[in-house]
Each structure stands twice: as structure tokens, then as C-alpha cells.
């Protein structure tokens, strides 16, 4: 198929940037979206132009690096997938596809379609960990009884790959689905109780500091999240913070 691509081009963090139109032809419907981008970049390199910068690593939906806003949706029109898992069969011959970087003040553009998501790292560092005895007599994790239900829910929350699609799709650029998942994966387990109070307070404080917006429960994040993280995790985080504020203020 033949396509018109409208792509955000920006030389660097200080550049103003603009949308630029490109044509690609003979794209197979079996290609992945990123393979289509590779075709475009090969074309650009061959004609002496600067290729389009975009993030990617595993290309199998597990690393969370790929991050394109395609035709007005994070990770494009398909559901439960990352950009690298999006197939060109979702599009038709002659389509115009708009490709933009994640947009949020807390995710500044580094170049073209690549944004800086280190805000997520800083939120994680603020409390997304547990303390483990590593003195040589580390306890086997299986020796702590955990209900099947809690284990399942914690596992579901831990499926978050930190891609940032939730922020990108939210009309408020809120990071609460991500932070909700990261708080929940520990809040549900006994190992997470030791730091529970400080964890939620510090992670939420860092989230606010980074300049993410405030959740208004539109649910856009849950729909666009490639890993099916649910709003339930935001409700849990809100409860955890309320509880933490009562215990320690």
C-alpha cells in the first residue's frame, strides 16, 4: 500500500519543530508499524536526509521503549499492544497517518519522536522498591504465604512496562495509571508493607513535582494502556495515600 505520513520533526530540545509530510510506497500489510518507519528512514538516508528518530528496543512489546502517538491515539488504533506490535494491516492503501511524540510538559521532546521519560525513573526512585535482606541469608520469597487473589492482582499491576501511553492519552497528561500500578504492585503484597506509608507519599510527591496533570477519571489511559492496567490501581493508590496521610502527616 501507498501512504502519506505526517510526522513531527524536531532537531533538538530547543528547536521549535513542525509537522512534515512524507510518502512511502509498497508497504506490506504484514509489516509492523516500526518496520514501515524503517522503510521510510532507509528512503531518507538514501536521499541524504536525516532519518526520523524514534524510540524502540525489544520490538516485541516488553521493554516499553516504543512510543508513538498515531492518528490521535497512543500506540495507534489497536488495543492491548505497543507501537512495535501494531501491524500495517490496521491501515488502508491511500491513508494519511499522523505520527507525533508523546505530548506532556513532563516528557520533553529530545528529538523528532523521542521524548525524555526520565520523570518516570525519578518517580520509581522515590519509592518504587522494597527492602530485601541481602546479607547472605536471604529468605526464599515462597516462604511468605500470599493469597492467590493478591498475587494475581499484584502481578497484573506489575505488568506495567512504563511506556507512558497513559500520560500521552490523558487529556490532563496525568501519570496516575503508571504510579497507581507501581504503588499497587507492592501495596498488595506483604513485602511491600514495610515502606508502604513513605512509598505512596514520596511517589505521589515526585509525580506532582514532575509536572504531570491531575486525573479526572476519563479512563483514556486504561483504554490505551498496552498492558491492561486498570483504573482500579488509581483507586488503590488514592486510598493508600489517604491512609498514609492519616498515619503520618
Amino acid at each position: 500500500m501507498n501512504l502519506t505520513l505526517k510526522i513531527w520533526r524536531q532537531k533538538g530540545p530547543q528547536d521549535k519543530g513542525k509537522m512534515v509530510d512524507y510518502k512511502v510506497s509498497d508497504i506490506s500489510e504484514h509489516m509492523s508499524f516500526l518496520e514501515m518507519m524503517d522503510v521510510l528512514n532507509e528512503q531518507l538516508v538514501n536521499s541524504g536526509e536525516e532519518p526520523v528518530a524514534f524510540d524502540h528496543d525489544c520490538r516485541e512489546g516488553i521493554c516499553g521503549m516504543c512510543s508513538l502517538h498515531i492518528n490521535g491515539e497512543a500506540h495507534g488504533p489497536d488495543r492491548g499492544i505497543t507501537t512495535c506490535q501494531l501491524h500495517m494491516r490496521m491501515f488502508k492503501d491511500g491513508d494519511t497517518i499522523t505520527i507525533e511524540p508523546w505530548r506532556a510538559k513532563a516528557f520533553p521532546v529530545i528529538k523528532d519522536l523521542v521524548v525524555d521519560r526520565s520523570a518516570f525513573e525519578r518517580i520509581q526512585q522515590a519509592g518504587g522498591y522494597i527492602s530485601v535482606n541481602t546479607s547472605g541469608n536471604t529468605q526464599d520469597a515462597n516462604s511468605i504465604p500470599i493469597s492467590k487473589h493478591a498475587a494475581d492482582e499484584a502481578m497484573d499491576a506489575a505488568a506495567c512496562i512504563g511506556c507512558g501511553a497513559c500520560v500521552a492519552s490523558c487529556k490532563n497528561s496525568s501519570a496516575m495509571l503508571f504510579v497507581g500500578a507501581k504503588v499497587s504492585q507492592f501495596a498488595l503484597l506483604p513485602q511491600g508493607q514495610v515502606e508502604a506509608t513513605d512509598r505512596v507519599k514520596n511517589m505521589v510527591a515526585q509525580m506532582d513535582l514532575e509536572g504531570f496533570g491531575n486525573c479526572t477519571n476519563t479512563g483514556a489511559c486504561e483504554v490505551e494502556c498496552p498492558k491492561g492496567i486498570t483504573l482500579e490501581n488509581i483507586a488503590r493508590m488514592n486510598r493508600e495515600l489517604f491512609k498514609a496521610s492519616l498515619i503520618k502527616f
Binding site: K6, W8, M19, H69, N71, G72, E73, P77, T98, E100, R103, A104, K105, A106, S169, K171, N172, S173, S174, M176, K201, V204, A205, M207, D208, G211, F212, G213, N214, C215, T216, N217, T218, G219, A220, V223, E224, L231, E232, I234, A235, R236, M237, N238, R239, L241, F242, S245, L246, F249
Partner: protein, 225 residues
Amino acid sequence: MSGFFNSSIGRKYAMAFSAFFLIIFLVIHLAVNITSVFSEDVFNDLSHFMGTNPLIQFGLQPILIFGVVFHFVMGFVLEAKNKSARNIKYARNNGAANSTWMSRNMIYSGLVILAFIVLHFIDFWIPELNTKYVQGDMSGLLADGEGFRYFEELQHKFVNPLRVGAYVIAFILLALHLLHGFTSAFQSVGATMGRQKAMKNIGKAYSILIPLGFIVVALFHHFNH
């Protein structure tokens, strides 16, 4: 707790609590209004009680005004903050693909409700204050002294089709506001955990029935006076 209410989530709680307050207020308000459809006397008695009871007038009324003002001021503040969290807009954004119109336009449905509240103040509240506290007539009686004035005043307000039209439109917007807002408030305080479906259904029922009740009262008096 002050740290809590300065956090993004604390503000969500504050917003939700002001909304819960308004949700309860609407039920009470409708419960009084709806009696006017069934019994002139009951409506008059209730209105007189609500309008002259000191606990309600000087206890609950100021809280209500605070609640309303807090809610829309906080609404504006959060909207402005959230807007600024995305400094460059998408060239193409398909909001309809992942969220409802209601959830994306709370500020606009809210603004229509606010306009209605202003109209409502001019229509009912200021004349009430004038009669009761400026002219000092706390009797609640008609000018000729033949019974209470409330029911007649109510009927009189719903003669003008333009006012009835504005009233109906405002309540449709209130329904849209609540169709997102009701469940949203419960989600904000973490009360939807494990019962999201049930909360959605209760929210739907409330958001349609309450505004519909107000509309029925308005139309009833428009066509029966």
C-alpha cells in the same frame, strides 16, 4: 493532613467531597420540589420550613454556598493546571476513541450549570432575600394574606417558555455532568475498588433520574397553571 490536600490526589478528594455534598443537596432539593406536583399545601409548608428555619438558613445555607463556590472554583483551578501539563497540543487527537464526551467536557457542562445557578439566584434567591431580610416579611404569606406565597411564585416562574427552555437545557447538561461526575467522585476517593460496575449503574440511574425530576416539575407547572 495539610500536605495531603496540597497533593494532586488530595485535591481530587476535596473535589469529590464537594461533589458528594452537591449530590446529596440535589436529592433534598428535588424531594421538596416534587411535592409541588402532588400537593400545593405540602409544598408550601416545606418551603416555609426550609425558608425560615434558622438552622437551615444560617447553618446549612452558608455551607451550601461554600460547597458550590468551592466546587466550581476548584474545577477552574484543576482545569487550568491540567491544561498547562501539556504545553504543546497534538496536531491530531482522537479523544472519542478512549473516553466519553462527558468526561472530556466537565468544564463546559459545569459552566452551563454555573450560568444556570446565577439565573436561579436572580430568579428565586434574590427575591427571597429581599422579601425576608430587606422588607422583613418572614410570614411567607401572599400579599392579600390568603395562604402561603411559595406555590404561586413557583407557578408564576414557569409561565415563560424561554425560562422553562433554559431550565430544561441546564438540567440536561447537569445530567451529562453527573453521568461522568458521579462515578468519578467515587473513583477519586478510592471507593470504586472491586465494585466499578455497580457504581457505574448507580451513577447512571442517579444522573438521569434526578435531573429528569427537576425537568418534570418545570414542565408540569408550565402546562398546568
